[in-house]
């Protein structure tokens, strides 16, 4: 309702390529406090609903798992739900769901997050449970075995038994990166998963799950004062624990293109993933890459949808991905990946050529004002939409605090997007979306690949 007056502004300003009137802007309240034990707490108050979102984000992900234990960070995430000495297996989920809440967890290269959303009446028990599993787990051989089995089923259902096997986010990274931290399989080999021991579990919890390696995010029916006091009450007594120094896993851009063809036993329709290494987190090029990625692959108005699905009629779908996260949530080497299902009478080379033509057009001509403005408008709207659910708001703020050292970035991203110019987009395209920095996997149904090899033995 605050927008009614502001609604006239876009017409008054129609001459400028501006997109963000005051009515479009949405400032998210952000309050941050660090406890003495190093736990950082972020609170965003919103009393519109008697619900609260909670996120505990730890600064440990797949990059830093032990070398002979691929998939361990993710297996460990599962074990975080399997009970502690104080709260036996089953308690965690029962208390949250019995309080009306939902919970989830996920493992990514740079963090592992544990999220809940619940009626605010369940907040204190939830914080108690989160603090309890930060302090100590029930290191139990039965639950370890059970979750080793569950994780193997997860890998079967998401990778081994699925057409494409997640190659656009798994295999593409195995190929694109140089260092083990960045290019190993974060889902893990069955051999490594089965080899995990309770000593591994204890050590990982001790080293990476202390309060000083975590951020607590709270959003919704709670004030900063209440949030900070509850954090102190439940987490304040957990001592800080030393975190092992991380190796240098940074990588520059690639200097030589990598291309390969994979046969897919289950797929019926071919697909291709084209990935380029991104600028580092905090680089001045990051907002430009965000706008460039959206210009190319965000929705039906994007250049690649209009150019490849429509236009050249080569592809069925075109999607843009940013590694396993988003263009703002990483702290090490990551990728911008274009993933397309394409028609059987085409091939990966034709898709790459078409994508190259669209990129070349941007490099040569830049982006006209109207297109740039609506691309940025859509990005801004997407950013706000992601902040609407309290669970996502708590989680995004906690992740930004962990990765950027400042949850307030949430309110600066809209301005960064707005400031991107056509020249910035051109520079990002010239710098990052080049062949030498590119990795391509053409994933072809087995039978079609066999036919293609007969037709064209020179295929790469």
């Amino acid at each position: 309702m605050k927008s009614l007056l502001a609604g006239v502004l876009p017409w008054l300003l129609a001459a400028a390529p501006a997109f963000a009137s005051d009515g479009d802007r949405w400032e998210i309240p952000v309050a941050v406090k660090k406890l003495d034990n190093g736990l950082t707490v972020v609170v965003s108050e919103d009393r519109s609903s008697p619900v609260v979102g909670v996120s505990v984000v730890y600064g440990i992900g797949m990059r830093l798992e032990p070398r002979n234990r691929t998939g361990f960070a993710h297996l460990f995430e599962h074990l975080m739900f399997e009970g502690s000495e104080n709260a036996p297996e089953g308690t965690f989920d029962r208390v949250i769901t019995g309080g009306g809440g939902r919970n989830n967890g996920s493992t990514r290269p740079d963090f592992t997050n544990y999220i809940e959303v619940a009626p605010s009446s369940a907040l204190e028990p939830i914080l108690w449970l989160e603090a309890d599993r930060m302090r100590m787990l029930d290191f139990n051989p039965a639950t370890l075995k059970n979750q080793q089995d569950v994780v193997k089923e997860e890998i079967r259902v998401n990778v081994q038994n699925q057409p494409y096997g997640g190659f656009m986010w798994l295999d593409i990274g195995f190929q694109a990166f140089e260092k083990w931290e960045n290019n190993h399989d974060g889902y893990g080999s069955f051999e490594d998963l089965e080899a995990a021991t309770l000593d591994d579990v204890r050590a990982f919890h001790r080293d990476y799950y202390g309060p000083n390696n975590a951020v607590l995010g709270l959003a919704g029916d709670i004030s900063p004062e209440e949030g900070f006091a509850l954090a102190e009450k439940y987490f304040g007594g957990i001592p800080a624990r030393p975190v092992p120094p991380a190796p240098d896993f940074s990588e520059g851009l690639n200097t030589q293109e990598k291309r390969l063809v994979q046969a897919d036993k289950l797929a019926q329709v071919p697909a291709v993933a084209i990935a380029w290494k991104m600028p580092g987190r905090g680089s001045p090029d990051q907002p430009a890459m965000s706008v460039l990625g959206a210009l190319l692959a965000n929705g039906d108005a994007s250049r690649l949808y209009q150019g490849l699905v429509k236009g050249r009629e080569l592809a069925l779908t075109v999607d843009g991905l940013y590694g396993l996260t988003s263009e703002w949530e990483y702290n090490g080497p990551t990728l911008f990946t274009v993933f397309a299902l394409y028609k059987p009478d085409s091939d990966g080379h034709a898709i790459v050529r078409a994508v190259d033509e669209e990129i070349a057009r941007i490099v040569a001509e830049g982006v006209d004002d109207a297109t740039l403005a609506r691309t940025k408008t859509a990005l801004l709207a997407d950013w706000y939409n992601g902040m609407e659910p309290f669970i996502s708001r708590a989680d995004t703020l906690a992740k930004l605090q962990l990765l950027w050292g400042d949850a307030g970035v949430a309110n600066r991203i809209p301005g960064w997007i707005e400031a991107v110019t056509s020249e910035d987009v051109q520079r990002a395209a010239r710098t990052y979306l080049v062949a030498s920095n590119r990795t391509v996997i053409d994933r072809v149904p087995e039978a079609q690949l066999a036919a293609r090899r007969v037709d064209a033995p020179q295929a790469e």
């Binding site: 029962r94 569950v150 329709v269």
Partner: protein, 470 residues
């Protein structure tokens, strides 16, 4: 792809309690209790009906700077698809954004993007839902765009040709997924000849689509006198009604209309189907039977029964098959309801070696629920879980809009949304047991398995003769 590495799928609706043991373990001594519940917020719905019959409901909100629209058109979905045109309503809905007299598909996409939102449509059993959202400052133009695609899609020849070609390839891609194959067989086993069985395309039904057929279907199915527009977000009701009149006031119902779909069956002969998928490392299990419409008197206790049995992470089948046995990444069970009928479905994807054992665990959970009353604490936890789901959804304005529109499509009144939580709280253990007996009796359930026959067939013998499908 966003669900990679996630532990618990939030999507489903449901539950609580370590259902494996006879009763819940003691809670930790220091665990603080839940605080007192706050009153349930009730969405304030302002309602008007335009002269042409279009209903308009407005729910003002003051959160994210966005306005959401959902236009529901009753009897325009799969229930209206002829027997030789399975999946047709999905293509009809998808084609709405592919061109009008004023704008081609690209101009529609670019306009939506410039409003900071999107516009699109999808088909369900009972209707078509057309969605649009925009930054609040663009509320008026976005509603104009929504009305334009609803009232005047032209189904351009070249777009229809392209959409058919892409639908055919998409069908191939989906058929590679075991869940899609299982779903087709389960729907057929559940609904037989009823149109609710025909929600998936076939190669033949795609080939038969023509621009003329789409235009005729649009004229028959899209009418203001059986449509509802729901508006939520940063907009005053009077302003929303004014925008709705301006966008839809001139829309007129014309020509003959369609009869509603017949009632769906309440019973079916249980089927046994094994869909052969060579090299599959898992068996995809799906169990089901016909059940009830959303307006059935059993619906409210059925929601709670589904929640307890298989609605979420703490539900009985997930606790058993995943947390106790480690057979699967996730197991679920519950009701799916439409206007003219409904069904139950249960399922999990399990490793080949435990195919038979997993089926047995499903059946044993169904029998347990039919025989033993649900313990008081488990019942209470599940009621709170349902209430929490209401609160969580109610925080999201788009969710409020689409739930109101979906409820209306299946014949539920506007106040069902805010009224079902108090009704859930009245359900007792005896009603749960009755629902389990009526709808989860193992002898009435069809079993569909998608997997590698050579690896799993010998485990299926105890469940009857399976018809093999390639």
């Amino acid at each position: 792809m966003k669900t990679t590495m996630t532990l618990v799928l939030l999507a489903a609706c449901a539950v609580a309690a370590p259902a494996i043991a006879s009763g819940p373990a003691e809670l930790p001594r220091d665990l603080p209790p839940y605080a007192a519940d706050k009153p349930l917020p009730v969405p304030q719905i302002e309602r008007r009906t335009l002269d042409n019959g279009l209903e308009v409901w407005v729910v003002p909100r003051d959160g994210v700077p966005r306005v959401d629209y959902v236009l529901a058109v009753r009897n325009a979905g799969h229930g209206a698809d002829p027997a030789d045109a399975p999946g047709f309503a999905g293509l009809l809905a998808g084609m709405l954004t592919e061109g009008t007299a004023r704008r081609d598909s690209r101009e529609i996409a670019e306009a939506a993007q410039s409003y900071g939102g999107s516009v699109g449509a999808s088909a369900s059993n009972d209707g078509v839902l057309v969605y649009a959202d925009a930054l609040a400052v663009h509320a008026g133009p976005m509603l104009g765009l929504l009305a334009e695609i609803v009232r005047g899609p032209v189904f351009p020849d070249d777009e229809v040709v392209l959409a058919k070609a892409n639908a055919l390839q998409s069908l191939k891609a989906m058929q590679a997924q075991p869940s899609f194959r299982a779903s087709r067989e389960l729907l057929a086993a559940t609904y037989g000849d009823h149109p609710y069985a025909r929600t998936q395309f076939t190669e033949e039904s795609i080939a038969a689509v023509t621009p003329e057929g789409l235009r005729k279907a649009h004229a028959l199915r899209f009418r203001p006198d059986r449509a509802l527009l729901v508006v939520t977000g940063r907009v005053e009701p009077e302003e929303a009604f004014r925008l709705a009149r301006s966008a839809f006031g001139e829309w007129k119902a014309q020509g003959p209309t369609l009869a509603p779909a017949p009632a769906a069956p309440r019973e079916a002969t249980p089927a046994r189907v094994l869909v052969q998928r060579g090299g599959s490392v898992q068996a995809t299990l799906r169990l089901g039977r016909p059940a009830i419409a959303a307006t059935d008197e059993d619906y409210v206790p059925a929601i709670l029964t589904g929640t307890i049995l298989g609605g979420g992470f703490s539900s009985r089948v997930n606790q058993n098959l995943r947390e106790d046995k480690g057979y699967t990444y996730g197991a679920s069970a519950g009701f799916s309801t439409s206007r003219m009928g409904g069904r139950v479905q249960a399922g999990a994807d399990v490793r080949n070696e435990v195919t038979g054992a997993a089926l047995e665990e499903f059946f044993s959970e169904f029998r347990r629920l039919a025989e033993e009353p649900v313990p008081e604490q488990e019942l209470l936890d599940n009621k709170r879980y349902v209430a929490g789901g209401y609160l969580i959804s109610n925080q999201l304005q788009r969710s409020v809009a689409s739930t109101l529109a979906s409820n209306w499509l299946v014949g539920l009144p506007a106040d069902f949304l805010s009224g079902y939580v108090p009704r859930i709280q009245q359900v007792d253990a005896e009603q749960i047991r009755d629902i389990a007996r009526k709808y989860f009796d193992p002898k009435d359930l069809s079993i569909i398995v998608v997997g590698d026959a050579a690896a799993i067939e010998d485990q299926l013998g105890a469940y009857g003769e399976f018809r093999k499908v390639e």
